[in-house]
């Protein structure tokens, strides 16, 4: 496999280091090499409401830039970036008008729509690189947790209408079970955290995040596990506001998937960036 590029995205670069630290550590421990794609730029997700063509341009430009540097694949640990890449490719395959506009926008940099890296997410990468068995063999500390998994809209529905989401979810559950984590269904599991709604309707967005936290509490599972920095922002960073939006007080520990995997691999919690989680992660004995 030629080198794998990694695109972190704005949310990670604007201070959400918990995801970056934990992804880097976990992949290092699993022996998977990644190279930072440079320069890193916006994936277009936040400006979809403004201009579809411009947002698809930004997403596809990342794939083209990565391909121009010789990478066949680019890892996108942020679900929103991963979704933008997949959705732009879908838009491109169906709209001649879009590909014309984007080819034109690409021309001044010598980029081409014929050479695009393939986007992959963390679950696919870990599944392919080591698989559930390989992961199980590297576990130092089986976690014995039952978690409220929040797959999130952009992981579950990165290719809407194709059944891809359920397949990805099954792989994710296999990986979790390899590290001693059970992720049973709970009411509201597939629901949205309100991350995108935050831009236009903040109160409603907090109600969504709060309902998610409440559902996780009521299911008496050990913690919430998220994949996407936008979900993390709503459920961890804004947890207090989200809880008060639904009249709840009890905090819920929120972990990133790679933080959870890292704990099972025996990586020191400090190296997984757990001090950057705002939610009460110390309630989990595996963190202490």
């Amino acid at each position: 496999m030629p080198g794998l590029a990694v695109f972190w995205g704005c949310r990670v670069l604007s201070g959400d280091v918990a995801l970056e630290l934990s992804v880097r550590k976990v992949l290092e421990t699993l022996g998977v090499d990644i190279t930072d794609l440079e320069p890193q730029s916006c994936c277009g997700e936040p400006i979809r409401s403004l201009n579809l063509t411009a947002s698809c341009y930004l997403a596809l430009r990342i794939l083209a830039l990565s391909a121009s540097k010789g990478y066949n694949e680019v890892l996108m640990p942020c679900s929103k970036g991963y979704f933008m890449a997949n959705w732009s490719l879908d838009m491109l395959s169906r709209s001649g008008e879009l590909s014309e506009a984007i080819s034109k926008a690409f021309s001044s940099e010598g980029l081409s729509l014929d050479r695009l890296s393939r986007p992959i997410d963390l679950v696919e990468l870990v599944y392919r690189a080591v698989g559930p068995e390989g992961l199980r063999n590297k576990v130092e500390k089986p976690l014995g947790l039952r978690v409220a998994l929040h797959p999130g809209c952009y992981f579950m529905r990165s290719k809407p209408g194709t059944g891809e989401g359920l397949r990805k979810l099954a792989e994710l559950r296999e990986l979790l079970s390899a590290v001693g984590v059970e992720a049973p269904y709970y009411p509201g599991m597939m629901d949205c955290c309100g991350g995108s709604l935050w831009l236009t309707r903040q109160d409603a967005a907090l109600t969504l995040a709060g309902s998610k936290l409440k559902a996780a509490s009521e299911s008496s599972l050990d913690c919430l596990v998220v994949l996407c920095p936008s979900c993390f922002e709503m459920l961890d960073a804004r947890q207090e506001d989200a809880l008060s939006a639904v009249g709840e007080k009890k905090g819920v520990p929120v972990l990133y998937l790679p933080q959870l995997l890292g704990l099972a691999l025996g990586i020191d919690p400090a190296e997984l960036g757990l001090r950057f989680n705002r939610s009460p992660v110390e309630e989990l004995s595996v963190v202490r």
Binding site: S49, N51, S95, A101, K104, S108, P160, L197, F276
Partner: protein, 170 residues
């Protein structure tokens, strides 16, 4: 189609505007059979009574002006459940985004958060400015302190130009 009149508002369909709004969409409204699956699973329906099947229906018939100026298009959570559930490969999600694009280009509405993002994007090539990471005790860390490599960020001058052109000089 042009013979239609909405008897509630006496509005006439605007086929030219409809064509522009659905031109780019991978999954436009025309195949919709009004089954209502989108609305029955819609995140914003439960919360804010958004009815994506009605939006799709109006768009399909060409009553798009009302949609562009409606407040409800801004209620969508962009959760993609509608696109996932639709049996006809229609994506209400894409349609709503395109309606928002039109509303913004007409100057009818631009959410403040979006305005900030656009400014940051033009300035830095990122939607959110690179910041130090702050831990739960309020202590800030630079990337080097965390053992993270310095990363170059931003858009090239050519990319910025291309982006501005696509945005119509916004």
């Amino acid at each position: 189609m042009s013979g239609l009149t909405d008897l509630m508002t006496m509005a006439k369909p605007n086929e030219a505007l409809k064509a522009r709004i659905i031109a780019l969409l991978a999954r436009g409204p025309d195949m919709c059979l009004q089954c209502g699956r989108c609305t029955s699973g819609c995140t914003a329906f439960r919360l804010l009574e958004l009815k994506p099947h009605e939006i799709v229906c109006s768009a399909k018939m060409g009553f798009v002006e009302e949609l562009v100026s409606s407040k409800s298009i801004w209620d969508c959570a962009l959760c993609l459940k509608c696109a996932e559930r639709c049996p006809q490969e229609v994506s209400p999600y894409e349609l709503i985004l395109s309606l928002r694009n039109e509303a913004i280009s007409k100057g009818l509405e631009i959410p403040e958060a979006l305005r900030d993002i656009l400014m940051t994007l033009m300035e830095t090539g990122l939607a959110f400015k690179p910041k130090k990471a702050v831990d739960r005790e309020g202590k800030a860390y630079g990337r080097e302190e965390l053992g993270l490599p310095a990363l170059r960020t931003g858009l090239s001058e050519q990319a910025l130009m291309a982006l501005m052109e696509l945005l119509g000089g916004a």
